[in-house]
Each structure stands twice: as structure tokens, then as C-alpha cells.
Assembly symmetry: C2
Homo-oligomer: 305 residues x 2
């Protein structure tokens, strides 16, 4: 075990989008920008800065256009920043920004896709086609999320073959990368191995990322299995922000600090300065006015005092 850890891993930071979209309180645009800049300056490979959805669905991110504009001039903007963009309406807004990458999403399970975006999986692909086409025309890269790969709140465990099919189709449509999500945080290492084995039979592993939730404490153990199998891109959320489907105190997204702590300490190059990342996590807590679930953040922020 651990015979083959990758030398280098890309950290894809989702907090400003996946985290803040669940917040009831509206974080001011300038504060979002401060947080995004703090994350970028810590060295994460990419930051998903917002979502170009209908503001009525997600009022917390109603300022998507202003966030994207406010970051103008940030070094490496086009390579460093990306945003969720579910449809052509969103893409028309993206056209007015300097963004050169967007992300789309669908579910591995039929029930979750239906409840989440009110379409069957087969109805979803044609809706994506103009988005992929327009992105190709405009030189915009598309990343695709596949949700509930490790388990669905409506169907329970999901057959890896279903997730493989969705991932392969999204890649065939033009996605440069597919991020596999454990949306409800039920994944175990053995299951992760089965999912990656099923994926590897059809998809080059360098096209895959893992997006784990730490709801039951298993996120890093699952990432470790991914690392061993050659996954080199991992999503995480500053301070563990977001994705709390349960009681107060329950955790959702894997905290970026926990992931970077583990990788850096094992000599895997993430490009991230952990101290600066912890400062970004502390800023997230300050902006939201509460202790967030990230573990390394609490330990390391306390040690800095």
C-alpha cells in the first residue's frame, strides 16, 4: 500500500461556490472577492468563484457577475478561476467576464437528477449540447460534475456502471475533466476502489477528479484510495464550508486544509502554502461568524495564536 503516490496533485477549491451557495446570510461581494483572492494566493490550482444560475434559485450567489468582474486583473485569472454555469442563460452572462472555464453538473442516479434539475438523465444531455458547443466556439473549457456517485439519497447505493456511463458521455461531449462526487458523504474506501476500477476500464484516470464529502469522516480515506489509483485532482472546500444536509455541526465538503495537510505532509506537491490556506480558512470563519467544520483549520489556526 502507498507504493505509488503521485508526485503532484491539483487542488480544485469549491468553497466560494459550493460552500457559499448554502449560506442563508449573504456574504458581501467584496468579502467574497477577498476570500477568493486569499485562496488563490495560497496556491490552489483553481477556484470555482461563483455560479451563474438564476439568482432566484440561489440568492446567496446573486452577485456572480460582480464577483467575476471584481476579480478582473488578478494574475492568471483565465487559468485560475472558473464558475458553475448550468445552461445557456448562464453562459450568456459568462460571456461578459474574463472566465475561460465553466462547470456543469448532473447526477449518476436517475432519481437525483430528476429531483435536482427536473429532467431525466437522457433529457439532460441535449440541454448541455448547446452549452458545450458554445464553449467550444468561444474557447471555454468545460468541467463536468457527476453527483451522488457513492450513494443517492433516494436510491441508496448507485451502480458504478451508471456513473461510468454518465462520466463517459460528458467527456465525449467535450468535458476536459469529470469530477466524481460523494454528494451525501457515504463513501467508503472499498467502494471507492470499486468505482475507480469501473471507471478505469472506460476512462483515462487523468480525466477524473474526486469531490468527497466528509459527512461521516471518511473523505480523506477515500481520497487516499484515489491517490493510490492515480487520481491527481481533488476538490475541496475552504474550512469545510458548505454541503451540510443535516443538523448544525454536521459536516459536508472535505475541508481543503485537511486535504492539503495530508498531502503536503506526505511530500505530495500541491503547490499550496498551508499557512496561507489556514489564513483563508480563518477569513471564511470570520465572514460567516461561526466555527466551520474543517479540522486541520481549528488545530492550526489555534496553534498560530
Amino acid at each position: 500500500m502507498l507504493a505509488r503516490l503521485p508526485e503532484r496533485v491539483r487542488i480544485y477549491e469549491v468553497g466560494p461556490r459550493d460552500g457559499l451557495q448554502n449560506e442563508k446570510a449573504f456574504v458581501r461581494t467584496e468579502d467574497k472577492i477577498r476570500l477568493i483572492e486569499a485562496l488563490a494566493s495560497a496556491g490552489v490550482a483553481k477556484v470555482e468563484i461563483t455560479s451563474f444560475v438564476n439568482p432566484r434559485w440561489i440568492p446567496a450567489l446573486a452577485d456572480a457577475d460582480r464577483v467575476a468582474a471584481g476579480l478582473s486583473g488578478y494574475p492568471g485569472y483565465a487559468e485560475r478561476f472558473t464558475a458553475l454555469c448550468p445552461n445557456m442563460l448562464g453562459l450568456d452572462r459568462v460571456a461578459h467576464t474574463e472566465l475561460r472555464e465553466v462547470a456543469v453538473f448532473m447526477s449518476a442516479s436517475e432519481s437525483h437528477n430528476l429531483r435536482n434539475i427536473n429532467k431525466s438523465r437522457d433529457e439532460t444531455y441535449p440541454k448541455f449540447e448547446p452549452v458545450f458547443q458554445a464553449c467550444a466556439d468561444r474557447g471555454i473549457r468545460v468541467r463536468a460534475y457527476v453527483s451522488v456517485v457513492w450513494g443517492c439519497p433516494y436510491e441508496g447505493e448507485v451502480d458504478p456502471a451508471e456513473a461510468v456511463d454518465v462520466a463517459a458521455r460528458l467527456l465525449a461531449m467535450g468535458a476536459y475533466e469529470v469530477s466524481l462526487g460523494d454528494t451525501i458523504g457515504v463513501g467508503t474506501p472499498l467502494q471507492t476502489r470499486r468505482i475507480i476500477d469501473a471507471m478505469a476500464a472506460k476512462i483515462p484516470l487523468e480525466k477524473l477528479a474526486m469531490h468527497m464529502h466528509d459527512t461521516r469522516g471518511t473523505a480523506l480515506a477515500n481520497c487516499l484510495v484515489g491517490l493510490e489509483h492515480g487520481i491527481t485532482t481533488f476538490d475541496a472546500s475552504v474550512a469545510g464550508l458548505g454541503g451540510c444536509p443535516y443538523a448544525p455541526g454536521a459536516s459536508g465538503n472535505l475541508a481543503t486544509e485537511d486535504l492539503v495537510y495530508m498531502l503536503n505532509a506526505m511530500g505530495v506537491d500541491t503547490g499550496v502554502d498551508l499557512e496561507k490556506l489556514v489564513a483563508a480558512g480563518a477569513l471564511a470563519q470570520e465572514l460567516l461568524g461561526r466555527t466551520l467544520p474543517g479540522r486541520a483549520l481549528q488545530a492550526l489556526a489555534a496553534a498560530n495564536h
Copy 2:
């Protein structure tokens, strides 16, 4: 990876001792007993119920004798319960109980041993000799903890050879098992592999347990490496109680619910009923009047409502 998971794992529950010893508020004796019984009825292999230290050191466990007596008559008492017992004074108190097992502790690093028990490591062994001898005479099994194996707050990383030496000597003195502790929760999977490899060269792995802290979120990833290498006994604390060396919100001990969730879901037999364990975790939170750090507990307790 994960080619060889063990069929069966023993869960050694430390919450009533390692958790409660850090609590400022005194939990009433009858409530401690309720918690211990809830844990035992959930099916953990063993519960460390208290510590027979000087009550002036640890007032929270000043009722050790009453806790041990109050559990009298509990089915399988002698196999199921154990207690920390650092010296002959403690052992004289244990003699008045039905306990047939005790635990002693020392540190892998010289500095931590000096600060923790005011003796060098070489001075510690002779102090243990009468304890081991008396236990052998009385048919009491001795478990030994080795602290700070993954890192020392005073020395930083600890050479695995030092931990191997301490563990081997304690086994030679008569300990039936040595529990290796990541006392400050700094361990990473790569380090765990190195430590276990070093141990395996000198010590049969079935004599070893792992006692991981989740301070930086890496506990289950570390346990996974242990499992792969043949470790089959893991310590954990109900609700993640205890071992919070840092700020409020920082976590210490690996939560038993997180460990059991992962193992049960992978088909490893723990003997533990997760639903009953979650009920015990909810009781721990009720007794202490606050949300505790365990992750699966929050997710599963919320799902039960």
C-alpha cells in the same frame, strides 16, 4: 490496494476514560455508568471505563471505584471492561473491583515522557515492574499505551525505532497488547506505513492496536493503512469525546461512530450495532450538554429524527 482487509476488527472504546478525563464538568457516576452500559450493549469489544489515578490529578474521574463497583453484575464484566492504572496505588484500588484487565502508558519520545509522568523512559520501566508482576500474580491482563508515536509536541516527528523499542519492551514485560497512539493527531498514511513496517520487523502485528486522533482529519485514512497491514484492534472514543488540545471546535480522539461506520460499510465485522452506538453518542452529547466532534454521529443522529 485494499486487497486484504481483515474479516473482523476489535473496537476498543476509550471515551469514558480518555474522553471524560478532559472534561471540566463532573459527569455524575450514574450517568457514566449509563454511558458505559450503552457502549457495551452496542457491542464494542472493550470499554475503558475509568482511570485509577490520583483524583487530585484527574478530578473528573475521582469516582473510579464507584464506577467499577456500579457496573457489577454487567454480563461479561471481566472480559468487557478495563481501566487505566498507572501504578501500584491504582492497582490496590483495582484489587477491590471485578476488573481483570488494566492499561498502563508511556511515551515514545523522551521529552513527552518526562513532561507527562516526570520520569525518563528508562526510569519508567522499573516503576512498571511491580505492576506487571502483581497483575501476573492476580491474573490481570495488562495493555500498554505508547503515546506520541506519530509526533511529539516537544520533539516533532519521532523516529519509529524509538516507538518500536518502547513497544517491544512493554510486550517483553508482559503486556498482552500495545496500543500505538497519535496523541496530537499529526499522522499521515505514509508515516503510518513506515511506523507499521518498522514495528512488523520486531513485533507480531496482532499484538498491536492503533489509537488515532482526528485533529487534522486523517484518522480514518491512517486506520485504513493499519487495516491493510493487518492491524485488527482500533481504539476510538464515543462521539469523538476528549483529547482536544486546541481551540473549542478542535477534535481529538477518532470518533467510534466514524470508525464503525467505515468498517461496517466495508463488510468488516466489528460486532457493533451502529444504531445503538449512535444512541450512545447522542447520550454522551446530552450528558455533556454540547455537540461533540464525531461526524457520523451528527449525520446519523439527525437522520434518526
